[in-house]
Symmetry: none
Subunit: 325 residues, 2 copies
DNA sequence: GTCTGCTTATGCCGGTTCGGCATAGATGGC
DNA sequence: GCCATCTATGCCGAACCGGCATAAGCAGAC
């Protein structure tokens, strides 16, 4: 059964002549005449009697007419369903991202995205580093936010889009004589007790690598899983916190400087990655592009602050904590 | 939507690779590869992910797969229907019927039918009662003639058409004082030796049921598988034969009366049955309608005869048999 | 009876489509 | 690293489809 033949059959039956059907279907009358003949041969049945110059449905033709209408309707329904699927503005998007990325970037970004794609359901999964890559490989997430150095540039299975970079920053009480400029060379951190993120943070590994390069044995006062704990201790004067620039610092009275090595800021590129072998739905591609634009707008979240005009070393008690308003 | 594309899509999805589908469909692999691509372009959707050297259905592909199967089934059903319509006056018709039905009804009916449908080959299979129903269920026959009470009225799988009913008749030598009317109440058969069909006959079961109702213990002289044996013995004065009205009685000098219970003739409806799930060819439907008409014309085949004007008890020898001309 | 308008079916031809063959490139198993 | 298996693409010839021209037939008007 050929659908074009079936269509011709139905239209001819409805309009009564091949000539009228030809006008309707924008096909020459002889071509339709041949299609009717072809369908009759294909089915082994006379569908029309030729009465004078008119075509009249035979009994068999009558019986098959409704079947053919049903078939054409079935095919049309599939085309319509395909169009709905094609518009692709509905579905699920699974994204792996670090906790700090979720807090600092996605907390605002997801509202923007939802305005554009109200019917896409975002599923966030906390993940970082190699864990993110494994989830991608296993198909557990569509997209993974990560630092660029985690991604093997030779892995052809992966595709990525660069987001903004992340700087390593040093934060301390304003009275700490850390640096007279907006930057501090990493080796000059040696005398200061350091407040560091633990090794579950990818940026920690970047910092360790830089220390090795600079032959710096960091004087670690505390390692924490919670960035804000570090900030609170720094504000209380207990040391210098090393944090990534994507961390939002609010309501802390802190001196912020950029950590450098040989004059260059320590920074890592950040990317969003996906498995090239799984074609992304349109709404996933849009997510990447919108995220890149958003990050470009809001980064860096935390910038180095200006040095104070009168730098004094003023010790403060442990419990003299500035309260957020 | 092109049916060939849809077919290719379904077969590739089922077999997992284009190469295997090519073997199944006897088409070269590159041609099928192109059909898949053409269908994806036609629908504007990716139906398969190419993972390594395998094709894996996408989510959209999964959703459309069952639709396409449905479409192909629809088209196949139309082809089958066209073949049935095409065969309209040619084919094989298998009919199950009891021996007496074959003899008394079909022996004349089949000539009439053959005049209308010269190209339909009737295959008669002797069967009765539940055996007929089983053959229908197994698809061994298209149609089954049966007594109505055999057919479960609640079985939705079966369809049936009523033919005429069958009366139970008593036949004896004219000299036997059986009844002064054209009927005899079943209880009045008590003093007579009875010549009965054996239990392979469905009507026998009807007779037994009536005896139980009437508290009649039949005085069975003989039980036979051969109705004509019973008639011969009855003609010879050995007793009263109980026979169905569809049995053609020729050339026998017999007194025939209708057996009643409480004034009502003992009778059973007769039907022709088929399996509703197997669409009948036109010539099968025609068979049913023509049979119903024919049975309406010729029934009852044997009717009660008028009582003789001078009823005498005249013994006759066993070997004085009237020969058919 | 003739003429006109309308219809279907057929011959012919050019353009398009389809499928087979060859093969490059990729993947996976051993 | 080799081999088997797979998909996708280039190329080409055969088959198909539709447009044009037109013969033939039918119905209605005059």
């Amino acid at each position: 059964m050929d659908l074009r033949h079936a269509r011709t059959f139905v239209v001819v039956a409805e309009l009564g002549t091949v000539s009228r059907a030809a006008l309707r279907l924008h096909i020459a009358q002889p071509a339709l005449s041949r299609q009717i003949t072809a369908l009759e041969q294909e089915l082994g049945l006379k569908l029309f009697d030729r009465v004078g110059r008119r075509l009249v449905l035979t009994g068999e033709g009558e019986q098959l007419l409704s079947d053919c209408r049903g078939l054409l309707n079935y095919a049309s329904a599939i085309d319509e369903r395909a169009q709905l699927l094609q518009r692709g503005d509905t579905g699920v998007l699974k994204v792996g991202a670090s906790p700090q990325h979720i807090e600092s970037v996605l907390s605002t970004f997801l509202h923007l995205y939802a305005q554009r794609y109200p019917n896409v359901q975002i599923k966030l999964i906390e993940a970082a580093g190699l864990d993110t890559m494994k989830m991608l490989e296993r198909g557990e997430i569509h997209l993974g936010q990560n630092l660029a150095y985690i991604v093997d540039p030779n892995d052809q299975r992966l595709a990525s889009l660069s987001l903004q970079h992340v700087d390593l920053l040093a934060a301390c009480h304003p009275s700490v004589m850390l640096s007279e400029t907006r930057t501090i060379e990493i080796s000059k951190l040696a005398p200061h007790p350091l407040l560091l993120l633990d090794s579950s943070f990818v940026v920690r590994k970047s910092f360790d690598a830089a220390c090795r390069l600079a032959n710096l044995k960091p004087n670690i006062f505390l390692e924490s899983h919670t960035p804000h704990t570090l900030l609170a201790l720094a504000e209380a004067g207990h040391g210098v916190a090393i944090i990534p620039s994507q961390l939002r610092i609010r309501h802390h009275k802190l001196r912020i400087v950029s950590v450098t090595y040989r004059g260059k800021p320590l920074r890592e590129g950040m990317v969003i990655v996906w498995d090239r072998r799984r074609p992304l739905p349109g709404y996933a591609k849009a997510y990447c592009e919108m995220l890149a634009n958003h990050v470009r707008e809001i980064f860096p979240i935390t910038r180095p602050s200006n040095p104070p005009s009168e730098a004094k070393h003023v010790p403060v008690s442990h419990n003299t904590r500035r309260k957020p308003p």
